[in-house]
């Protein structure tokens, strides 16, 4: 496109072709930015649609349009699609026409670009929907079906038709047996990653066939299964195996680990909570490995013995992650680990007895690249340990210091001054005060700050944090009882990116404080347990202001009534999880709430004393097809109609009946 050489205005954005605009927009990754692009102009909306690679559909009505409007779609996330079932999924997908001639256009363009589909917790989708999905997406490579508790062998048979499948996650698909696993193994020989955590029906036989039929497997997760050493024998034949997880496999012992050592290309092993393995087994597994990067033996061994420590030196170059949670650890052990594994990036010592300042000092003296240190419940540690960490590990990003009572602002000052990359710090149940927060405020990269049970924290501390930590995404103030509305004002003005906020039991907070919180537009998770002073006014401002709200906990907010919940019904259309136990809601309010919130799928409503039986009946019927999890008072089980309870069960809703006495707190 040539321009007059005399034109000084230059080209406008209209001069860019759709392709070029799409090329430019491909560089915009953040979903919020992409949404803003769609609203800028028609051309931008078209270009955005042409370049969009990932979509997460929240309502099933939007599904047909999404599948047709985005020709470059590669990743489809349907796990939050409220009410998705086989019928709606099959109806939305294009149908391949078996007999299409060259002249006739096929009834629907197949989704040729879709490679990854996520259906976690999509309990309404069964084999019919999966069959339609596999037929419509011939290039399907990765499927996540985790927590589809009702999924079984028939669903596996449907997936087995996806010959190009490379990744399959079937965690907690309780109905799957060896038969279903065999179907997938035979149908998808190119499988590289498989996770069958919690699929308790799977046995050694299934694993043996899997290993025979899928030689490309690189990553396998058999956690919580009742498999024995024979499974490890089978898996050891996989030449490309890199990553194996067998958390809490209680029938595996040292012999199995010995068999597994035949695989010498392992990069990551997780044998946490396997209480029949010992240091000998671990040592024989490590022996001969040359590429091992991650080891997790948390809560399995009792202590780490010299046979393991000496083997660590052979993988000292490659080891980056070592988790020893729950083990008995001595300072000499940490000294040995530090001197052999100098490239450690993450160390887990959560709940380890015997971890002292000396141990930490000798560890960090060698491991300067550490980015994550977890010393939760290492009660003996003092500020000296923090000083050592601060001086040696300048790259530290994540510090978990929960329940370390001797940590104070002096140690945190060292950390804050020397470690500018700090992103996450957990100080739950530590004895820290506002001075500590004043120091931590220097860390402008801070994303996650957990201060639960720190009763000495007050508004002043929050003012410090909000002055500089503008990137904060998660703030936990559980039981920080000294916090008032002023503290929230500071947080709302300085930390605008907060997504998760926990204010449970900060009982001084009133509606004014919630008005400040309503300014946090990106807030998705809000916990307000036992805030006895807040009323419907506060909830209304939250509902109007926090448009992204997904989870809200109002348990024991005794003064919240129908008015507040009415606002939620009207404005919080993205709400998926709600707890209103002990709130002052009536049957009418409840009915309105459950009827209007199309995405709501998890509701806890124990002790709603103002709701009559008819109220519960109407409300639950209104939301029947959408609800997935319910928590109700046990007494209701006998008075609600059997028809309703059967309907709930048929729609895939699990009900938890609790028997709790009516006690008022706060």
């Amino acid at each position: 496109m040539s321009h007059d050489s005399g034109s000084s205005a230059g080209a406008g954005v209209e001069s860019l072709s759709l392709d070029l605009l799409a090329h430019a927009l491909a560089g915009v990754g953040d979903p919020r930015d992409r949404k803003s692009c769609r609203l800028a102009s028609r051309a931008f909306a078209r270009a955005e649609a042409a370049s969009r690679r990932a979509a997460r559909v929240l309502r099933r009505e939007a599904l047909p349009r999404v599948l047709r409007a985005f020709p470059a779609l590669s990743s489809l996330d349907l796990s939050a699609c409220a009410g998705l079932d086989d019928a709606s999924l099959a109806a939305a997908l294009p149908v391949p026409d078996p007999g299409a001639g060259a002249a006739d256009p096929p009834p629907g363009q197949l989704l040729l670009t879709v490679r990854r589909v996520r259906l976690a917790r999509a309990s309404g989708v069964g084999w019919r929907g999966l069959e339609a999905l596999v037929a419509a997406c011939p290039r399907l490579e990765a499927v996540d079906l985790s927590h589809c508790v009702a999924a079984g062998d028939r669903e596996m048979a449907a997936l087995a038709a996806a010959a190009g499948l490379r990744e399959l996650v079937m965690d907690k698909c309780l109905g799957v047996t060896d038969v279903g696993l065999a179907k997938v193994a035979v149908g998808c020989p190119g499988l590289q990653r498989l996770s069958v955590k919690w699929c308790l029906e799977i046995s050694d036989i299934g694993i043996e066939l899997l290993a025979k039929k899928c030689p490309q497997l690189r990553s396998v997760d058999i956690s919580y299964l009742k498999v024995t050493n024979e499974s490890l024998r089978s898996l050891s034949t996989l030449e490309k195996l890199e990553d194996i997880a067998m958390v809490s496999c209680l029938f595996i012992d040292d012999d199995g680990l010995q068999m597994l050592s035949m695989c010498n290309s392992l990069q990551s092993i997780d044998i946490s909570r396997c209480n029949h393995v010992s240091s000998l087994g671990l040592a024989s597994l490590i022996d001969g490995q040359r590429f091992l990067q991650k080891i997790n033996v948390g809560h399995s061994l009792h202590e780490i013995e010299t046979c393991v420590l000496s083997k660590l030196s052979t993988i000292g170059e490659t080891l980056t992650v070592l988790r020893l949670d729950g083990l008995e650890i001595f300072a000499s052990n940490l000294q040995a680990i530090g001197s052999t594994c100098k490239n450690l990036v993450e160390i887990g010592l959560s709940k380890c007895n015997g971890v002292t300042d000396d141990g930490i000092v000798s560890l960090v003296a060698h491991c300067c690249d550490l980015r994550t240190i977890d010393v939760t419940c290492c009660h003996l540690l003092t500020n000296d340990a923090l000083s050592a960490i601060a001086e040696n590990c300048r790259k530290i990003e994540c510090l978990r210091l929960e329940s370390c009572p001797f940590i104070s602002e002096k140690g945190l000052e060292r950390i804050a001054t020397l470690c500018s990359h700090l992103k996450e710090i957990d100080l739950t149940d530590c004895r820290i005060n506002d001075a500590a927060l004043q120091h931590l405020a220097i860390c402008s990269e801070l994303l996650i700050l957990k201060l639960g049970l720190c009763s000495s924290i007050s508004d002043g501390g929050l003012v410090y944090i909000s002055s500089n930590c503008g990137k904060l995404v998660e703030l936990d103030l559980y039981r920080c009882s000294a916090i008032t509305d002023d503290g929230l004002a500071a947080v709302a003005s300085g930390c605008k990116k907060i997504r998760m906020l926990n204010l449970c039991y900060c009982t001084q907070i009133t509606d004014a404080g919630l008005k400040h919180v309503s300014a946090l537009e990106e807030l998705t998770n809000l916990e307000l347990r036992c805030l006895v002073r807040i009323t419907g006014i506060g909830i209304t401002s939250i509902a109007i202001g926090c448009t992204s709200l997904i989870e809200l906990d109002l348990k024991r907010c005794y003064s919240v009534d129908d008015a507040g919940l009415w606002a939620l019904s009207r404005y919080s259309q993205n709400l998926r999880q709600l707890t209103i136990s002990y709130c002052q809601v009536t049957g009418l309010g409840l009915c309105h709430l459950l009827g209007s919130l199309r995405c709501l799928q998890d509701v806890k409503m124990v002790h709603l004393s103002w709701v009559s039986i008819e109220g519960f009946e109407m409300a639950l019927r209104a939301a029947c097809g959408r609800l997935k999890k319910l928590k109700l008072l046990d007494g209701l089980r006998s008075v609600l109609s059997t028809e309703l309870l059967q309907m709930l069960q048929a729609c895939g809703c699990r009900v938890r009946w609790v028997d709790k006495p009516l006690v008022y707190k706060g």
């Binding site: 230059g10 080209a11 001069s15 430019a24 609203l39």
Partner: protein
């Protein structure tokens, strides 16, 4: 940068390297550049291959690129051109400058008004200069980050032709999908 017209497009510079003459769309400007720099453009490369040695005597005319934009594009090419001038090695050889130096140059290079930036995108696409296309497109993408639709329109100079109903429809979809 407009050099005096050379009678032979293959004339050597004082350093003995091959040069190529590129002419802007309105014929108003002729630029003599090192072959290595010119060959960063796949389009130019193809034109030379097709035309053969003799046709390059008069310079290669680029009908879709005006003088101002061509000057800017060649500024980029000269900086990013590999040290070696042989055409076969041009693609594989690394640029003569250091990487940090290039990054700094790139950052300064895209500090232009929107009109120039859009012209650069179109030119880079036409001339098939991958590095320049990626750089300019990423610059536009970076300008969009963190902005509201209104701010995007203002920064990029867009007028929205959405009717209120269309805009509502997009907003609704934004809420229900993604």
């Amino acid at each position: 940068m407009a050099a005096a017209a050379d009678s032979s497009g293959d004339g050597g510079t004082s350093s003995g390297e091959k040069t190529i003459v590129l002419v802007s769309s309105d014929n108003s400007a002729r630029f003599e550049v090192r072959e290595a720099a010119a060959l960063l453009s796949q389009t130019v490369r193809r034109m030379i291959d097709e035309a053969g040695a003799d046709a390059s005597g008069d310079g290669i005319t680029l009908p879709d690129v005006d003088a101002k934009t061509l000057a800017k594009v060649l500024e980029y090419c000269n900086k990013h051109a590999p040290a070696s001038s042989s055409s076969s090695a041009a693609e594989a050889a690394p640029p003569a400058e250091g990487e940090e130096d290039l990054e700094r140059f790139d950052r300064e290079f895209v500090r232009v008004d929107m009109g120039t930036l859009y012209s650069l995108v179109t030119a880079a696409s036409y001339l098939k200069i991958e590095g320049l296309l990626n750089l300019t497109c990423q610059t536009i993408a970076d300008m969009i980050k963190g902005k509201t639709p209104e701010q995007i329109r203002k920064t990029l100079g867009i007028t929205s032709e959405f009717t209120p109903e269309e805009e509502d429809e997009v907003r609704r979809e934004n809420a229900w999908a993604f």
